[in-house]
Amino acid sequence: MHATEATQAAQRSIDICNACRYCEGYCAVFPAMMLQRAFTTEDMSYLANLCHNCNGCYHACQFSPPHAYGINLPQQFAEVRVESYAEYAWPKVMAVAFARNGRTMLALTAAALAFVLVAVLLLVPNAALFGAQSGAGAFYRLIPWGVMASFAGATLLFSLLALLMAARNFWRDTASPLTRTMSLSALRTALGDAATLRYLGGGHEGGGCNDLDSSFSQTRRKLHHFMMYGFFLCFASTSVATLMDHFLGWEAPYSWYSLPVILGTLGGIGMLIGCVGLIWVKIATDPAPVARRVLGGDYALLLMLALVAKTGLLLLLFRATPAMGVLLAVHLGSVLALFLALPYGKFIHGILRFTALLKAAVEREGRSVVSG
């Protein structure tokens, strides 16, 4: 990790935090910090990715601005996080995507939509594209299954590889003597922490965090659950559909009461609720602990996820009408954009956060072994 203004500002704050330690009870960042006396730029990358941006430490800080010390960890860490995404991007050249991530994502979405629409217009006869389709294989009469599956498969597999490589780069860059021994129990802890968003829970008594101001709520945590589990449901829907198609020979579209449609509908609604809600939280929250510079990328991912969910639901509603052709193209275009964007936008926070949680769990275990 390169030292920058952002990492230096965070490092200066962490030196003060480590002499104070009042925030120990909030999240994993402070116990992780307390294992050390002196900090490197790599430590800032680790702690920044461990930070869930809950704002608890900002509102509780007796040294937050306008105090001369000016401690504002949520803001300082958010800036370090985005720099770390660029640092660990794979392949390296893709670091450029994080410079103005909101614009990059917007351009990518536009390009993917245009690509699919233009391809469909050029390749699909007008009568098929603008006529009502029904019965098994209706979608594939417009875009053949093989084309759909190979585009989706290739982009998704590449993106997953890129995400894993980024996680590997992060793990190696931030490795310390404390992180040598990996264990199953640490992995279980980290999975649990990620699945429950434990560190948006507000510590000992679990009152939540400072979503909007210095009062406590679980709103952001719940909205993120809607969004994240909605995303997983949609993913499950697509997977189930692929299996049904490939192994059972049942071609989409499926009935309203079939497993893929139920999963996809619930997931799509969940994602929409989550994305719209999280956008609202971003707009309504106290701006003081917010890093304005990174907001573009944050909004972009939420909007892209909302677009995928919304076009998916619209496609379901209007699949028997002449609008189906264009809706299908738009939906597939937005999915293509999302798949391509996974390793080069805000989505990467998921895998780096998980990796940081894993590192924290490993270090805590190592620590308790050492101290008996």
């Binding site: 002499a19 330690r21 009042y22 009870g25 909030y26 509102h59 007796q62 040294f63 008594e205 009152g207």
Partner: protein, 465 residues
């Protein structure tokens, strides 16, 4: 803007823990309440902002407190640290009441956590606020706003019109504009005077210019002075304050907990003449840290330097400011501006006097010097392994002891021992009645919470009648 023409039932002067407890209790009892906080919103809460726990009596384990801590042990602890400089009736009432405040605090949104790492010694006696004192202050303000208490920031109360034991009005500078506010009762919770260097100079002369103030700059003692001038009875020694030796490079005000240094037991400490002046290893640090503020205050220029060598580097909490390091004592002397020959002589004399022994940082290890004046009686090891690591120290004032006398209803007492009719006090401005000397971790917050609640209740009761 608040309506300064209105006559409130209760006007609370101050905006820290004690003030907010009083305001909320009065409002919950049905009174109309206005809070006059000198600080702007960002710095509201006085020194409560810098606190982190409250000492609470309890007869069994709670969600955050271990074992039990009963009245007699609590009282013994208080008696010991104050050397009897307390009021048993008020103190025991405070102690008993401390066992009842936590549920109410939680209703007000205050959240607790088990004691912090490294404060195990307090896990039985002190309930820690999740996130510290500012989180507590935030919770009280949020509750106050919800209850419809009027809160004025940037509102410095300049004087209170006290007429024959009856408080009539206060004069305020509100956002820079002069205002007069009348109320049926007043609660004064405006803290001590440690933020007022000119006042400290009355007792400490020019030396006070070199004192650092660890907490809020808004504790200027204006109301304290004003009340004492009008014949209110005082408690506590005006010349005394609680202080610790903090990093000399700290900001003048509000540097907070992070400026503390706890390396003195493992060091030698020298003054401007590059000479030692006190036994650095007298006792374990938790029992000695509050002594060093006074000791350094008595040295020329109110400054001292602690020096350890590489062997002791990891034995204390990291300081917020970088250490001054050097590979020789001579080089170090140059860096901190002391006479190199004298400093070398001091270190050589010390090293020659160190006796062999089994060093143990965790307890009194009796590693000591022989034939050295002043001696070092524990943790004495030769300074012989570079780099040498040095920190400058100055006295950091935590709070002053001078206050106004109150009775069990938190009523302010006049010099003739008669209580005032409608003037109550809570927090640091009256804490000297109970903690007349010394320091007991978390007890200031206990006094503030207990007396804040009483003052609010009693003020509301008076206003209703």
């Amino acid at each position: 803007m608040p309506d300064f023409g209105k006559i409130y039932d209760v006007a609370v002067i101050g905006g820290g823990n004690a003030a907010m407890c009083a305001a909320i209790m009065a409002r919950q009892a049905g009174a109309s309440v206005i809070v006059l906080e000198h600080a702007p919103r960002a710095f509201r809460g006085g020194n409560s902002r810098h606190t982190r726990n409250l000492r609470a009596m309890h007869d069994g384990p709670t969600s955050v407190l271990t074992e039990s801590y009963l009245e007699d042990e609590y009282w013994d602890d208080l008696l010991r640290v104050t050397g009897g400089n307390t009021d048993e009736k008020l103190a025991r009432m405070t102690i008993r009441e401390s066992s009842r405040v936590m549920p109410w605090m939680m209703q007000c949104g205050v959240r607790f956590q088990p004691s912090l790492t490294g404060t195990l010694s307090l896990s039985r006696t002190n309930a820690f606020f999740l996130g510290g004192g500012k989180a507590l202050v935030n919770a009280y303000y949020a509750t106050a706003e919800k209850l419809g208490i009027v809160i004025c920031y940037d509102a410095e109360v300049l004087s209170l019109d006290l007429d024959d034991g009856f408080a009539k009005s206060v004069t305020i500078s509100a956002n820079g504009f002069p205002q007069t506010l009348r109320a049926k009762t007043f609660v004064v919770s405006s803290g001590g005077f440690q933020g007022n260097i000119d006042w400290l100079k009355k007792y400490w002369g020019e030396a006070a210019e070199n004192f650092l103030i660890r907490g809020t700059p808004y504790a200027r003692g204006r109301m304290l002075q004003n009340l004492l001038d009008q014949g209110v009875q005082s408690v506590g020694d005006a010349t005394q304050f609680h202080s610790v030796a903090i990093d000399a490079r700290s900001p003048k005000f509000d540097g907070g907990i992070v400026t503390r240094l706890d390396n003195i037991p493992f060091s030698i400490v020298v003054n401007q003449q590059a000479k030692r002046f006190y036994d650095e290893g007298e006792d374990v640090w938790p029992k000695r840290y509050a002594v060093w503020g006074r000791i350094v205050a008595q040295q020329p220029g109110q400054i001292a330097w602690s020096i350890v060598d590489q062997k002791s580097e990891k034995l204390f909490m990291p300081s917020v400011f970088p250490a001054i390091t050097a590979n020789t004592i001579r080089e170090l002397a140059g860096k901190i501006g002391l006479d190199a020959d004298t400093l070398e002589q001091t270190v050589n004399d010390y090293n020659a006097a160190v006796q062999p022994g089994e060093f143990n940082s965790q307890k009194l290890d009796h590693c000591h010097t022989e034939g050295l004046e002043p001696p070092k009686t524990n943790w004495a090891r030769k300074l012989d392994t570079p780099p040498f690591i040095c920190y400058p120290h100055r006295p950091g004032i935590t709070f002053t002891y001078l206050g106004v006398k109150v009775d069990e209803q938190a009523r302010v007492i006049m010099a003739d021992d008669k209580p005032t009719a409608n003037l109550f006090a809570s927090g640091e401005i009256m804490a000297g009645s109970i903690l007349g000397r010394g320091y007991l971790a978390g007890f200031g917050m206990t006094i503030g919470t207990v007396f804040g609640r009483i003052a609010g209740q009693e003020a509301a009761k008076y206003a209703r009648n």
